[in-house]
């Protein structure tokens, strides 16, 4: 099964990278672009047939390693 994981900064946490990209898009003339937020995207193959088990596993991975839950939040899809 493949897990697709998104890790993004929590609301309210400064996103310097997003800010810089927004500024760059603006000076490139993309005036309609706003509120850029940057996060991470990860794909992990999970060798586990049982969906519930796989899900529990992925959640654990996120909590323990993939996301820094102090400033980031995560979501994932399995399939």
């Amino acid at each position: 099964m493949k897990a697709r994981i998104h890790v993004t900064l929590k609301q309210g946490i400064l996103d310097p990278q997003g800010k810089a990209i927004e500024h760059a898009l603006d000076s490139l003339g993309f005036k309609s672009a706003a509120n850029v937020r940057v996060g991470k995207y990860m794909e992990v193959d999970v060798n586990e047939q049982d969906k519930a088990k796989a899900e529990a596993e992925v959640k654990q991975m996120c909590e323990k390693l993939l996301a820094n839950t102090i400033i980031e939040e995560y979501r994932y899809e399995l399939g």
């Binding site: 309210g12 946490i13 400064l14 996103d15 310097p16 800010k19 810089a20 500024h23 820094n68 102090i70 400033i71």
Partner: protein, 745 residues
Amino acid sequence: MNTPAVMITKDLIAQHNLTDDEYKKIVEILGREPNLTELGMFSVMWSEHCSYKSSRVHLKKLPTTGPRVVQGPGENAGVVDIGDGLCVVFKMESHNHPSFIEPYQGAATGVGGILRDVFTMGARPIALLDSLRFGGLDTPKNRHLMKGVVAGIAGYGNCMGVPTVGGEIVFNDIYSLNPLVNVFCLGIAKKDKIFLGTAAGVGNPVIYFGSKTGRDGIHGATMASDSFDDESEQKRPTVQVGDPFQEKLLLEACLELMAGDLLVGIQDMGAAGLTSSSCEMASRAGNGMELDLTHVPRREPGMTPYELMLSESQERMLMVAKAGKEDACIAICRKWDLDVAVVGTVTGDGILRVKDQGKVVAEIPAKSLADDGPRYERPYQPPEYQDMLTNLNYDLLPDVKDANAALLSLLESPTIASKRWVYQQYDHMVRTNTMVRPGSDAAVVRIKGTNKAVAMTVDCNSRYCMLHPYEGARIAVAEAARNLACSGAEPIGLTDCLNFGNPERPEIMWQFVLAVEGIKDACEGLAVPVVSGNVSFYNETNGLSIYPTPMLGMVGLIEQADQTMTQWFKQDGDEIILLGATREDLGGSEYLKIIHAREQGSPPLLNMDAEKALHECVLALVRGGLVQSAHDCSDGGLTVTLAESCFSGQDQKLGAVVRLAQGRIRKDAVLFGESQSRVVLSAKPSHRQAILDQANSLGVPAEVIGSVTGARLTISLGDVTMVDVPVATLHDRWALSIERTLNQE
């Protein structure tokens, strides 16, 4: 004043870490109850972190003046004259609590904060040093903390283009739940272009510039004044995120602003953000200030005055411009893509008056906030167990049998092992001044446009301080100065970062008071003024405190940059000379910890006159071009010092044959004891006599103990060969230890 919308309850007061008496004093000052915004402002300014309420009475004892001192403690950083119309501006600061919660951002924003302290004074930062304490690397948590902290320092410092040229790290489980992250920064400024944080000149405009204000780190200052407990998790949302790119722009903008004749005063928004910068600047000038929050650039909608005044968003500054220069200031900020807004004016009534949307939301005498905080003479007394720590019966400890194995274990212990894994992640060469990179006793950077160089070191043996806070602190000062002497530098100033547990406990306060006295006496003895510093209390978790860790950052001047010295042997055939006397000093040594698992005994004796004579001697020899290397004896004693002299040079590894007399003291004390006031030199044989004569004339014990030769380190005691190992083996153990440990997962 409109009536407070929020009732100020007992709970609310307690949540703001204010005592009943402190609250009473606030009511007295205001002549009424504070509103919530005012309560918040008092709580941050009167926190331990901002008000130094437990430490002030003791810090006053430190010597802070000297012929070179331009600015002592009390400003954003200390300033010391180095001649040629130039000054060095330096300070050290802790970011311990935030780094435990979020190691990368905590350490990164620590670097950001200390950089701002230095460049607000008009100095361009040219060097950083970091001083770190972690628990043992055998737990994933400690490894995670270390990796995160180092990456955070690297991430911020490298991006800023300020080299991290040195530092130190010690590992001890006592720091597992309270790691220390102290960062030192030094900048260079023209003597006639030093800027202070003052809001002089009634009517002058107050200008905000830098990043926008968000809800970051609200209560950061009170958090740094609070012990951790199991509920600390809930304090997490206060984490601040740093933006080094923004800070780089801020730095360049500041220096450009300062080059023009535009400013009256300037200060960064550090802990307690807009509150501290505004009230401190006003108070220093004996003035007041009126702020209108309506104009403060914001990152998020709906922020309250409370949040705006307390936010600790990073990379922000407050300046007071000369009237009429607003537009010029704004233009420079815009050039560097910074947010900028006139947010207030300097007033003559001494009141910090804060308005939002036309309404007054806070009205407090600036001086009361900034300077009239509580001051405590907290009771102190030694802990009951103190004697148990120092009374160690050495007869119970067998003398060393396998000195080769002991040496290898010491070299591998992460406190002694090479810190290459760390400093390779730091850009330590940007700005092209770094003459001596990390890896020698002190870092040395040249000062462009002069023949001079400055040397810098950070030092503190906190185990000694735990065993005897007074002696430990004296030794820390002495060791720092010794590291400078070995590099060819004369000390010109000191900054400190005093990391301790909870000062409300008498035994912690005892450690603090004794340590301060030790620093004072040692600084007086060596004639080194303390020009800036920082106190970090409450480094404890569930009642378990760190070792007292009075970290010292010392700066030395090298008048002729080409008279700079490094610690490693240079040439086969050179003779090795030991300066200073070896005693039976095993107490508190790294050897006792690693080999006998004891952190006990009395720290080594330090005779300040002997220490002073040693520095004079080493400096004379280095300046006279008589020595090829100089390395002080510290952790691991003479044998580790010799080993480091053999292999720490980047380009070549050299062996040595050393013969020591078998005196009346224990073998392990000769080999691994940490007697103070000793330096290992290497020199051409033709300079031997001149060196011995010089030492003799200053009363410094000196002895030729061997020569640089071959590819092994061989040390004999009397007729017995104690150590005999290929230098390559020693180097391998030492160089890769930390890397191996960290890569194990």
